[in-house]
Symmetry: C2
Subunit: 393 residues, 2 copies
């Protein structure tokens, strides 16, 4: 009765996930946090109603790919070009600082390891988890404050997007380092080859899709072909180039992000995401997080992880903002705006788990960072913008 | 690299399925047929690019449940009440005739078996496959001819819907007969208890959902809770009452079909269906159908199966129409309108396969019936309505 159990598992997951997502929203916390809590509740930590299965893991896998594809689709290439150099510098500094500080923090806890050893890669990976800002939460807060179309708002948004791209590149490099058969030159070469091919294939695919889209706008075939492309690029990235499959999915989204129907595709992808694949992914993180095994060492690590995660972004981005000529308060706004973490941090963590680099105990730290940053950013931004004229009536 | 293969399989399935569905539509054949052909092409019969896997089978299972839920949602209870007795009688005759003729045909081919034996159940199952008319194709043809809102059109449509309900009841009974531990009284009792509980739970669930829907119309929670209900009812039907899970899904749809947001739910379900779960289900039928093992016996059986399938509906429904006072030509229109088969016939076949009642070689016959009936019905209906004033400009 295997197939029957699937129906039961899925029903519990989507109902509990939705319920706790709504509760989270009421509490001004990100919905994602609610879905993870749902997983902890119905998982082995508490009720033990649902256990990890191959099917759920595989659904979660598809969910991750869809989420990253959707994130790629949201990229606005034209806006990136406009905000250009400033945003790129802020993003670079905002990736580098948490990467270095995260790595150092891990080493302070668990000892320093030589470059290239397993301990070193693990430390760098902890830093890597800290790199990606959550675009969606930042955007939402800026929208609410009516600051999204100001020069400052645009810079923050662009930096948050570029930040994702750089974060993915860092992840690619770290995952590549892990492969015992490869050396740095080979990894770099394969990664370079992947991006070269992605650019060439991207131009071709984009032009073909643009024609299809012009001939058959708003038809089902547009999102279906797009999802097919995302899956193929994910597969090719991982299978032939040793690049993380989520990198492939993300760049498939970037390639198609300038299509006229990119919103239409994203919406279709999101409907698939939010009904089954997304909730299964986030709930499965809760299922994998057995809080009963939590000890004080992990708790202490998590708290420090959150503090380093928040401060490193504020410092990295704020400092670069100051160098680029923003006033003190504006530089601080940039730093705080870039501080939120979200899905991508979880996805990166899960990739590390899958590749055997880190253990599932780090989920606790990452979940804590997402929840705290998502709650703190809106409050701090509102305080920083207070006194100024906002778009709120 | 199991999870990677999933991406590759899914990409091939959704791209090939969509392509062949579009080709089928160009040829005026049902899109479903195109998706099955895609499965035959990429499956073991020809290219062998994709093989059956647990994951694909489980996705297909979810797809079947979603399809049946969607079919239930389309049921218009008010219209059923209006068309009432006439449509019900036509539907009954239209179910009984193919059921009996199908059973007899199987026995003519493979020998007569005593009531209750395995051979007998198999024969009755072949009859059962023939019972369900495809509402969607009939509706489409009547719409095209501008005859959907005529008294005749309404009668055909209602009969096609009631036909589904009765077909599901027949399937439930046959599947129940199969259980070696049960006797007829027990099966009937359990099935009766299921329907009693479904009605009681249905009234409660409907009233709760109506309130939620009034408070939060057009929100994501409506389709998500609805799908949760469908999965739970499917599970409960099968696990506790030995009733086919698709019966549970169908009746979950019927329960929610009168909600104001039922179209909204159906649309969301369909988007999930058409992107992944539906194509995976129909393609997997193609994957399971290895045409290389076809022999002349199966081919001959298939041809007779198609002829009996078509004629039994025309006779059963047309004859009852004549008794109810329709003129000869109108009675024939009813018979021809009820002749199309679709997804439900496939789903029933797959259930028989899963329950070990029949082998996968019968897919060939069912696919043939779907394709022939879907091509023939529009042509014949157009011919029968020719000369009359149609709604076509």
């Amino acid at each position: 009765m295997d197939t029957l159990d699937i129906l039961w598992d899925l029903a519990l997951i989507i109902l509990f996930a939705k319920f706790f997502a709504l509760v989270a929203r009421k509490l001004n916390a990100p919905q994602v946090a609610g879905e993870i809590v749902a997983g902890i509740l119905i998982g082995p930590t508490l009720l033990n109603l649902v256990q990890e299965t191959d099917f759920l893991n595989q659904m979660a896998e598809v969910g991750v790919i869809l989420l990253m594809f959707s994130a790629g689709l949201e990229t606005d290439l034209n806006q990136l070009k406009k905000s250009g150099i400033k945003a790129t510098l802020i993003a670079c500094s905002g990736v580098l600082t948490p990467l270095v500080l995260g790595t150092l923090m891990y080493m302070c806890f668990f000892g320093f390891s030589a470059v290239g050893t397993e301990g070193f890669i693990k430390a760098v990976f902890i830093g890597t988890i800290l790199t990606a800002t959550s675009v969606s939460i930042t955007v939402q807060v800026l929208k609410e404050l009516g600051k999204i179309s100001t020069e400052l708002g645009m810079t923050i948004m662009s930096a948050a997007i570029i930040d994702d791209v750089i974060g993915i590149l860092v992840l690619t490099a770290v995952i590549g380092m892990r492969d015992p058969k490869s050396n740095f030159a080979l990894t770099a070469g394969k990664t370079g080859a992947f991006f070269l091919i992605t650019v060439i294939a991207g131009v071709i695919v984009y032009n073909v899709m643009e024609r299809i889209d012009e001939r058959y706008p708003h038809t089902r075939r547009i999102p279906i072909i797009s999802i097919g492309i995302a899956f193929i690029l994910s597969y090719v990235a991982d299978y032939y180039f040793g690049v993380a499959d989520i990198t492939g999915a993300f760049f498939a989204g970037v390639i198609l992000s300038s299509l006229k129907d990119s919103d239409y595709i994203e919406w279709r992808v999101d409907i698939n995401s939010y009904t089954f694949f997304g909730p299964v992914f986030f709930t499965s993180i809760g299922l994998q997080t057995n809080l009963r095994t939590l000890d004080t060492a992990i708790l202490l690590f998590s708290v420090v992880f959150v503090i380093v995660g928040l401060l490193s972004k504020v410092i990295g981005c704020g400092f670069m903002g100051r160098i680029l000529g923003y006033k003190g308060k504006d530089a601080l706004k940039i730093g705080v705006g870039m501080m939120t973490r979200g899905e991508v941090a979880l996805i990166v963590t899960q990739r590390g788990l899958k590749a055997g680099i880190i253990g599932s105990e780090y989920f606790t730290a990452v979940i804590l960072l997402i929840v705290v940053s998502s709650l703190l950013t809106p409050l701090l931004l509102k305080a920083l913008f207070s006194g100024e004229e906002t778009g709120i009536a």
